[in-house]
Symmetry: C2
Subunit: 338 residues, 2 copies
């Protein structure tokens, strides 16, 4: 029976318990755990022994509160089921874990409202860094993020005025490059298949402008909605061909849509690339080895994740990081489909 302990305790072992067992002060245990070289060998041994015996795991919420460093990085992606973003998340988590950080994940489902909510929720966690997919437009989310002082990486796009730092590539450049590429291949009746995604829309606009400059003003566009699936790609090609039966090239806003186009073309006996050129976006792992292999736009998602991790970790150490705008570029990977 305790002498009226006025507050509940979780009952778990705390740093204080370890300190008592090792016969030292709590702060000494803290040092033994976090800066072992600042502690004598004997103390270190006793602390470790107590930790091993009890299975003590330090409470990082308490540590984070006291030190104002959570060792959490928050990442927001449009969708977890999309292979193209997960490559970034994969390298991001792996690199961060090696530096003692944990990743908190949120998905917007391509909804700006949900993104705002996520940003606010994440700020409440006081992460040491925030990774965003896409650049953040003006609004409450951006204001709060700036006010929070948390290092921010916007990725997967470029802007001259990032919240903090941006790592990505130019979507308009991609649109223009793909247009020139298809023109060079002698294509004169291109079409676009895209999904609900503002970045895809900017690729499309630039694509159309570039074609217009070469006298091609009519470019059918089919929007496949919010589902970036192979099935949608098949349906979309059917719609494209209904709009413009002699279409000779399709630029898709994602590889999965492009695979759908390839599939539907085969189904209809359309030869690729002779009758129809197909270009995707993302270069997800499987498309290089399909039949026909997919010509697509490669954007190095893994590199984005690794760079973002490196930058964020360095920022939390107080180092300044330059440059604040990193253009990783893209490549049109020429394969059989175009």
């Amino acid at each position: 029976m305790q002498p009226r302990k006025s507050r509940r305790s979780s009952g778990a072992i705390t740093l204080g318990d370890i300190a008592a067992m090792a016969g030292v002060a709590p702060i000494t245990v803290s040092r033994a755990l976090n800066q072992p070289d600042q502690v004598s060998a004997e103390v270190l041994r006793r602390v470790r022994e107590a930790v091993d015996r009890t299975g003590y795991v330090p409470n990082r919420m308490a540590g984070g509160l006291a030190s104002a460093r959570s060792r959490i990085i928050a990442a927001i992606v449009p969708s977890a089921v999309s292979a193209v973003f997960m490559e970034t998340i994969d390298t991001l988590t792996a690199s961060l874990f090696d530096s003692g950080y944990q990743l908190m994940l949120g998905q917007t489902g391509y909804s700006p409202e949900r993104e705002e909510m996520l940003i606010e929720s994440f700020i409440g966690r006081r992460p040491d860094g925030i990774f965003l997919t896409g650049v953040l437009g003006p609004g409450k989310g951006r204001t709060r993020l700036v006010a929070s002082g948390i290092p921010v990486i916007e990725a997967w796009d470029l802007t001259p005025s990032p919240v903090d730092m941006v790592i990505g590539f130019s979507h308009p450049d991609i649109g223009r490059s793909v247009a020139s590429y298809l023109l060079r291949k002698g294509r004169r009746k291109p079409a676009v298949i895209d999904a609900n995604d503002p970045r895809a829309a900017r690729r499309r606009t630039a694509f159309q402008q570039e074609l217009a400059a070469s006298g091609i003003h009519h470019v059918p566009v089919v929007n496949s909605g919010s589902n970036r699936t192979l099935a949608e790609g098949r349906k979309a090609l059917a719609q494209v061909l209904a709009l413009q039966p002699d279409t000779d090239a399709v630029f898709c806003s994602s590889d999965l849509l492009a695979l759908g186009v390839l599939t539907e073309a085969r189904h209809r006996g359309l030869t690729v690339p002779d009758a129809l050129s197909v270009v995707g976006f993302g270069d997800i792992p499987s498309v290089a080895d399909m039949l026909p292999s997919l010509t697509t736009v490669r954007v190095n998602g893994g590199r984005i994740g690794a760079l973002a991790a490196e930058y964020l970790v360095r920022r939390t150490r107080g180092e300044a990081v330059e440059p604040r705008i990193v253009d990783l570029g893209f490549t049109i990977v020429e394969r059989e489909s175009a």
Copy 2:
């Protein structure tokens, strides 16, 4: 110049600041934010006004420490790039976010050592629940998890003795079912392509046993290593055919490998399913609409995520949840490839 504030403060607005602005005690602000109906309309108005004006976002680390509820759920998956797990993560994050929880993500890369490290790291965060892919064997990780008292869901497998609760399906049953299925289709020269994954190994073993019971004792197995890619599937089929040229069926441990097999078969002019039946595992979204469409084992990953979220949230509310073992089963989705 402050009168010697002996401790650094993050400088950010705190609940105390809001309290001062609204002319109430800190605890009243806490109530206004967390249980608005326990506070008078007038106080609520003043608090909200102060929050809006300052852009105050409560510090959840502090709240979590004080209340011993972090509102974090930790999830460990083998790989973020695998579509099959991401469907689970997708529904898990979405459901949890709606209940005010955040997801912390870790990847093991199929390494048990890394899994142990992740479990220990995550316990330090004091999450309100932990989601694991696969059942946890005896070891330090399991001991600590049990000691921590944190609700745990093991998923994607079954065991009679879960740490806490398990939601999944039987891998041996899958192996046996696929074997019977192929036997019924008249296949007599099956092979297996799998990857480094203990669960896939159990499917394979049961598959072989079932075949042996029908007199088929020689079943070539090709292990494609750690990369579950389409390219590996292509290579693996080549190896299978080298081992057993008249192979008439292949059971793959993932859909991506199966797509590789389909691709390589087409490349070699092998007709599917006449000359070669192909069965995958996972039923990732695209495989239903390929040509030929893939016969595969469907395991409802989305349902696992939704159920796990529901269970964990209810557990954090102190509700008991039954049953502790949920077998979601699986279905062999018969399509064109087998």
